[in-house]
């Protein structure tokens, strides 16, 4: 994944709570075997509405999504992250996220910023008042800022996720450094394998 340090761009206020991953990318889009091109399916059920916030001219090209609480709950589909990133989002701000969605985001380099509900409301209002305002998400210093409005908050990110984002590390590569430990673990692993249960065609032996 690409390193992420500073995200600077306009923001979209998505004033809804409980935006689950089915709403971020409907299941019809999950049949594809590719990893790209999901941006067109982002919030597909709502995009037909010309008044939907993503369709308003002032928000075209924004890179920060500001959403209500419990964003990304539900299905584990990483397609939700691919859709947000393919559309152009680099960070999502919400009072809370679904656990799996947040994990998936970290793997792809989509920055998830958790702020108090009051702070999210303030940020939403700042963006609604003046959509051209730039929002800056600083992963290095764990700060989110609207410089023009003099608004600044800090946020928390677990240290490893922060390091991975800043360096663009590949998780699998990192784990493979532990090859010896994995092999050692496997020698004493008590859990059964599938060996001897099925034949080559998957029939029970």
């Amino acid at each position: 994944m690409k390193p992420v340090s500073i995200i600077e761009g306009r923001a979209v206020p998505l004033e809804r709570s409980d935006v689950d991953t089915d709403q971020i990318i409907p299941s019809d889009w999950l049949k594809r075997v590719e990893r790209t091109g999901f941006g067109r399916g982002l919030f597909a059920e709502w995009r037909d509405d010309p008044d939907f916030v993503l369709n308003r001219a002032q928000f075209v090209g924004a890179t920060v999504l500001v959403a209500g609480p419990r964003f990304g709950t539900g299905s584990s589909r990483e397609h939700a992250v691919w859709a947000l990133m393919d559309y152009g989002f680099e960070a999502v701000v919400s009072p809370s996220f679904g656990d799996i969605f947040r994990n998936n985001s970290a793997k792809q380099g989509l920055v998830t910023v958790v702020l108090d509900a009051n702070d999210v409301d303030q940020l939403m209002q700042l963006v609604k008042d003046e959509p051209s305002r730039l929002v800056v998400v600083d992963v290095e210093h764990l700060r989110i800022e609207v410089p023009e409005a003099g608004w600044l908050r800090t946020f928390a990110l677990d240290p490893m996720t922060r390091q991975r984002l800043l360096n663009g590390w590949d998780d699998i590569g990192l784990t493979m450094r532990r090859e010896e430990a994995i092999t050692a673990y496997e020698r004493s692993c008590l859990a059964p394998t599938l060996t001897g249960i099925f034949d080559d065609a998957g029939h029970v032996l």
């Binding site: 089915d22 999950l30 990483e78 490893m160 532990r178 994995i182």
Partner: protein
């Protein structure tokens, strides 16, 4: 020192490495794979010249997008067909056992693991599907992962993980007659809210949970993610062991006895301390129906559609108004007066043999209401065969239900089984999200017996209205 929870015990046994300042590297005993969340992961392996570390700990099935039409019918949608072919090619290339469409072991991934006996107590189990929590009914730590993590497990058989907090959800007392495991699950999600379990692993405890069959426990654990918890657990007991006895993946004779001794240790210690505790009184539970667009929006079958005006919090009020508008419902309407267009009995929540028996017992000798389409989609070919041996298929077909081939089907509407815009569905599945069962479709989550009764009456109904 306080005792350990069941979660602690499984976690501690699977630590490969716990480097300073980094997440713990956890070993994964079993990786279940399906067609939807895996193709990009296999591509990732190829791009980086990596392979599958443990094909003997990896098991694949087609479930999410398979049609449930007769097997002789070709798959019409070329994109779905391509995805199923990709799974077959990937499993062949990396030497992974696969149950493709039509295979006698094929079915919903969370139905086949338990029924084949490859889901066992004390294991770590992952799958690129959030309902992997189902397997926690066996005292296994099982959770859903994204595609990047699928690739990670394929390549390394491990996952970097932060330890979750523990939550005890205790359901005390006995369930009243007519109240099922699904109602317990809906009550818990309603109590916790969609985010209440976030960051936690739930252990379900108490007399009402102990009294459930393994299939009932699976239904409860299945919906852990609907409360935000990645995993749900039930301690291993004799019910667990009797369910596992004789299944294909389970050892026999002395080996079985040795396995049982080990399995019985997968319980929380009496003095274990949980980070959070929630208690429900089973005697207060009733058959439930969801009225809104998230699974915490639950009301009694005897109740009415709630009024937004009764909600103080402005955000909650607005969310309720939006949900009611989407669902096409008026506050104050009695649930029993709401007519349905479709009834879906299936999904990893409620498609096992006990679910089908319970639904068939309600439907027997009656007929689906005019203008209602009712589908029964068994969770697997094994469930389907067993049901047919018991004559359940004949009961359903005589009553006007469609008896279909196994798969995830209308739970998520990836295959041709979808709602049309505006259609209202009583569904035994797990999610009532907007558009979940088809664009513009309106989903109400219910138990199998309420679904069957609703199909007969054409409106939300309880079994005693059908069979007084």
């Amino acid at each position: 020192m306080a005792g350990r929870t069941l979660y602690d015990k499984i976690w501690d046994e699977h630590v490969v490495a716990s480097p300073e300042g980094e997440p713990t590297l956890l070993y994964i005993d079993l990786h279940l794979v399906h067609e939807v969340t895996s193709p990009q992961a296999f591509d990732g392996l190829r791009l980086n010249g990596r392979t599958v570390r443990r094909p003997d700990r990896t098991l694949a099935t087609a479930d999410h997008n398979v049609p449930t039409d007769p097997l002789s019918t070709p798959i019409a949608d070329p994109i779905s067909r391509r995805q199923l072919e990709a799974l077959e090619e990937n499993c062949a290339e990396f030497d992974i056992t696969l149950f493709p469409r039509g295979h006698e072991n094929q079915g919903i991934v969370h139905v086949i693991g338990p029924e084949l006996g490859v889901t066992q107590p004390g294991m770590t189990i992952v799958c690129g599907d959030s309902h992997t929590s189902t397997h926690g009914a066996f005292g296994a730590l099982a959770f859903g992962i994204g595609t990047s993590e699928v690739e990670h497990v394929l390549a390394t058989q491990t996952l970097p993980q932060q330890r979750a907090k523990s939550m005890a959800v205790t359901v005390e007392g006995q369930l009243p007659p007519g109240v099922s495991a699904k109602d317990v699950a809906l009550a818990i999600v309603s109590r916790l809210g969609t985010g209440g379990g976030t960051g936690h692993v739930i252990e379900y405890r108490g007399e009402a949970i102990r009294s459930l069959s393994m299939e009932g426990r699976m239904t409860v654990c299945n919906m852990s993610i609907e409360a935000g918890a990645r995993a749900g657990l039930v301690a291993t007991d004799e019910t667990t062991i009797e369910y596992l006895r004789g299944r294909p993946g389970v050892p026999e004779g002395d080996e079985f006895d040795a396995a049982c001794d080990r399995w019985r240790t997968f319980v929380s210690d009496d003095d274990a301390v949980f980070d959070a505790e929630v208690t429900l009184d089973a005697s207060t539970l009733v058959p439930f129906v969801t009225w809104g667009t998230n699974p915490a929006q639950v009301v009694s079958l005897d109740g009415v559609v709630p009024a937004p005006t009764s909600i103080a919090d402005p955000d909650q009020r607005e969310a309720t108004e939006r949900a009611l508008a989407y669902m096409g419902l008026e506050p104050g309407t009695a649930l029993r007066e709401i007519a349905v267009d479709v009834v879906f009995i299936g999904s990893c929540t409620n498609s096992r043999i006990e679910d089908l028996r319970a639904a068939a017992a309600v439907a027997k000798g009656h007929h689906v209401a005019p203008d209602v389409r009712a589908l029964v989609v068994p969770g697997s070919h094994r469930v389907k065969s067993q049901a047919e041996n018991e004559g359940l298929d004949q009961i359903f077909v005589s009553a006007g239900f469609e008896w279909r081939e196994p798969g995830c089907s209308m739970c998520l509407g990836m295959n041709p089984d979808t709602l049309k815009p505006g259609q209202r569905c009583a569904s035994t599945s797990n999610r009532n999200f907007e558009g979940r069962q088809g664009r513009g479709g309106r989903t109400h989550l219910v138990s199998p017996v309420v679904a069957a009764a609703t199909a007969i009456k054409g409106r939300f109904a309880s079994p005693d209205e059908v069979n007084p």
